[in-house]
C-alpha cells in the first residue's frame, strides 16, 4: 500500500515538473511589466502587441497554409495509397508499405538536409512549396498508417454485399468504404496538421529567407532573448494544442464507440 502511494506521488511530481515551465509562460504572458522577474499586475498588453505584429501574423498565416495544404495532400495520397496497397498484395507492395514509413523513423535533421540538397539540385526556390513538399514526407506516412489501421478493422463483407446488391464500384466506395475509413483519415489528417505546425528542424532547412513559419519565427526571436510577446504567442499555441488534443480525443473516442457497436 505504501509502495502504491509512493508511485502516485512520483507520477504527480513528474507531471508537476512537466507543467511548471508551461504555466510560467502563461502567467508571465499576462504580466504588465516587460521584465519577467517582477509581477506588475494583470494586463492583456502583450496580446494586443502580438496581434498587431505583422511579421508574426505573416508567419502564422504561412504555418496555417502549409499545415492545411499538407494535411489535405496527405489525406488524399495516404488514403488512396493505403486502399490501393491493401487491394493488391504482393512482395513489392509490402516492400513499398514498409519503405513508405521510413521518413517517420528518420532523424529530422537528415530529412531536412536531404530535402534542402534535392531542392537546390533541381533548382526549386525555397518557399511555401518546398515547405509543403518536405512536410508531406512525414505527413503522408501518418495518414497512410492511420488509414491502414482502419482498414485492418474494416469488414470486407459489407463491401461485397453492396456489390452483390448491384451498387457500382464507385458507389460502394463512396457509401460503404469511405464512411468506415473516415475516422482513420480524419485522425491522420489532424496528426499531419499538428506535426506540420510543430516542425522546427525540417522547416529550418527548407524555408526561404523571407518565408517564416511560426516555429521558425519563435526560434529566431528566442535566440535574441526572452520577450513578453513570445510569452503571449506561446500561451496561445499551448491553448490551441489543448483544443486540438480534446478534438482528437473526441474523434478517436467516436471511432472506438463505433467499433464496439
Amino acid at each position: 500500500m505504501r509502495l502504491k502511494a509512493a508511485g502516485r506521488i512520483y507520477i504527480w511530481l513528474v507531471l508537476l515538473l512537466m507543467y511548471v515551465p508551461m504555466l510560467l509562460v502563461i502567467v508571465y504572458s499576462f504580466n504588465e511589466s516587460k521584465l519577467s522577474t517582477v509581477w506588475a499586475g494583470f494586463s492583456l498588453n502583450w496580446y494586443r502587441k502580438l496581434v498587431t505584429n505583422r511579421e508574426i501574423m505573416e508567419a502564422l498565416k504561412n504555418s496555417l497554409t502549409v499545415g492545411l495544404l499538407c494535411s489535405l495532400l496527405s489525406m488524399i495520397i495516404g488514403t488512396i495509397g493505403a486502399v490501393g496497397l491493401d487491394r493488391c498484395r504482393g512482395r513489392l507492395n509490402s516492400a513499398v508499405s514498409a519503405l513508405s514509413v521510413v521518413p517517420l523513423m528518420m532523424p529530422e535533421i537528415i530529412t531536412g538536409l536531404v530535402f534542402l540538397l534535392m531542392f537546390s539540385a533541381i533548382g526549386l526556390k525555397a518557399g511555401l512549396l518546398t515547405l509543403v513538399l518536405a512536410h508531406s514526407s512525414f505527413c503522408i506516412p501518418y495518414v497512410f498508417m492511420t488509414v491502414k489501421g482502419s482498414l485492418s478493422l474494416f469488414d470486407r463483407s459489407t463491401e461485397e454485399a453492396a456489390r452483390d446488391l448491384g451498387a457500382s464500384e464507385a458507389r460502394t466506395f463512396a457509401e460503404i468504404t469511405m464512411p468506415q475509413l473516415l475516422p482513420g483519415i480524419v485522425s491522420g489528417g489532424l496528426l499531419s496538421f499538428a506535426m506540420s505546425m510543430d516542425d522546427v528542424v525540417i522547416s529550418f532547412f527548407v524555408t526561404g529567407p523571407k518565408t517564416n513559419t511560426l516555429p521558425i519565427k519563435i526560434y529566431s526571436q528566442m535566440k535574441m532573448g526572452v520577450t513578453p510577446e513570445i510569452n503571449a504567442l506561446c500561451t496561445l499555441m499551448f491553448l490551441f494544442t489543448l483544443a486540438a488534443v480534446i478534438l482528437f480525443a473526441a474523434v478517436t473516442d467516436k471511432q472506438r464507440k463505433k467499433m464496439k457497436n
Binding site: 502516485r8 511548471v20 532523424p107
Partner: protein, 282 residues
C-alpha cells in the same frame, strides 16, 4: 496489370521520390567533391569521410553520442517507472486524466516548452528566486548554458515519447503472469527482471528509438539551452550547410550519423533480448 495497381500508384511515387531517391542522393553526394562556394563536383572521393576522423569532428561525434546516450538513459529511468505505474493505476478516470496530462505536452511544440524551461532556469528566473527564498545568499546563478542544461532540455522535450510507448506496452501486460511468478517464489525484484521487463521490452525499445534518434539532431535545444557553446551533431550538420556551404561533407556526416544510430539501436535491441520478436509471438 493487377487490379488496384493504379490506386497504389501514389504510394509508389511517394516512396520512390520522397524516400528512395533522397537516401540514394544523400549517399552519392557524400562521395562527391566540393566545388567552389556552393557547388558540388561529380567526382568520386573519400575525402569527406577522411575529414570526419579529424579530431575536431571526431570529437563532436563522440560528444554528441555521449550526450544522446545520457539523455536516453535518463529519459528511460524517469519514463519507464512513470509509464509502468500509470498503467497499474486501477482508477480508470484518474488514469485517463494522467494520460491526458502526458499527451498534452507530447503535442505541444517543443520550442514552446523549452521556452518555459529557459524562463525557469535563467539567471534571475524562478529557480534562482526560490533558492534565494530558501536562504541562498550567493551571487546570481544561471543554470543555463551548461551541458547538464542541454541534457535536461532534451529529457524534458522527449520524455512524453518514452512515457507513452512504455505505457502502451505495460497496459497490455497481463498482471496474472506476474502474480504467478510471485506465487512460485520470485522476489519482487526478480519478478520484475524476469517477467515484467522482458514482456514490456518492446515498448521500452520503441521509446528508446523515439528518444535516441531525434536527440542527436535537435540543434535548437543545444543552441538555446547551451548558448551556442555546446555543439552536437545537429549543430555541426547545420553549420556545414548554413555557414560553410559544404554539402558533400554535410552528407557524409549524415551518413555516418545514420550508421552510428543503426549500430547503437541494434546493440540496444540485442541487450533487451529481441523484444520485438517476443512481442510478435505473443
Amino acid at each position: 496489370m493487377k487490379k488496384g495497381f493504379f490506386a497504389a500508384l501514389p504510394m509508389y511515387i511517394f516512396t520512390l521520390f520522397f524516400v528512395a531517391v533522397p537516401l540514394i542522393y544523400l549517399a552519392a553526394l557524400s562521395f562527391m567533391e566540393r566545388n567552389g562556394v556552393w557547388g558540388v563536383d561529380a567526382s568520386f572521393t573519400l575525402d569527406n569521410y577522411r575529414r570526419i576522423s579529424e579530431p575536431a569532428y571526431y570529437g563532436t561525434f563522440i560528444f554528441s553520442l555521449k550526450l544522446s546516450l545520457i539523455t536516453t538513459l535518463v529519459t528511460a529511468l524517469i519514463g519507464y517507472p512513470f509509464g509502468y505505474l500509470m498503467s497499474r493505476c486501477e482508477n480508470g478516470r484518474l488514469r485517463a486524466c494522467m494520460l491526458f496530462l502526458v499527451i498534452l505536452p507530447f503535442w505541444t511544440n517543443a520550442l514552446v516548452r523549452i521556452y518555459g524551461f529557459i524562463i525557469l532556469l535563467r539567471g534571475n528566473g524562478l529557480l534562482y528566486s526560490l533558492l534565494k527564498l530558501a536562504g541562498y545568499g550567493g551571487e546570481q546563478l544561471s543554470f543555463l548554458y551548461t551541458q547538464p542544461a542541454v541534457i535536461l532540455g532534451m529529457v524534458y522535450a522527449l520524455l512524453p515519447f518514452m512515457i507513452l510507448t512504455v505505457y502502451s506496452s505495460c497496459s497490455k501486460l497481463d498482471p496474472t503472469v506476474l502474480e504467478a511468478a510471485r506465487d512460485l517464489g520470485a522476489s519482487g525484484f526478480k519478478g520484475f527482471v524476469t517477467v515484467t521487463l522482458p514482456l514490456t521490452a518492446d515498448g521500452l525499445l520503441s521509446g528508446i528509438m523515439l528518444v535516441f534518434i531525434p536527440s542527436m539532431g535537435l540543434f535548437f535545444i543545444s543552441d538555446l539551452m547551451g548558448g551556442g557553446k555546446i555543439i552536437i551533431l545537429g549543430n555541426l550538420i547545420k553549420n556545414q550547410i548554413m555557414t560553410a556551404h559544404d554539402y558533400p561533407f554535410a552528407a557524409a556526416l549524415s551518413v555516418m550519423m545514420l550508421i552510428m544510430m543503426l549500430v547503437c539501436l541494434g546493440a540496444v535491441r540485442l541487450l533487451l533480448g529481441g523484444g520485438r520478436k517476443r512481442g510478435e509471438t505473443r
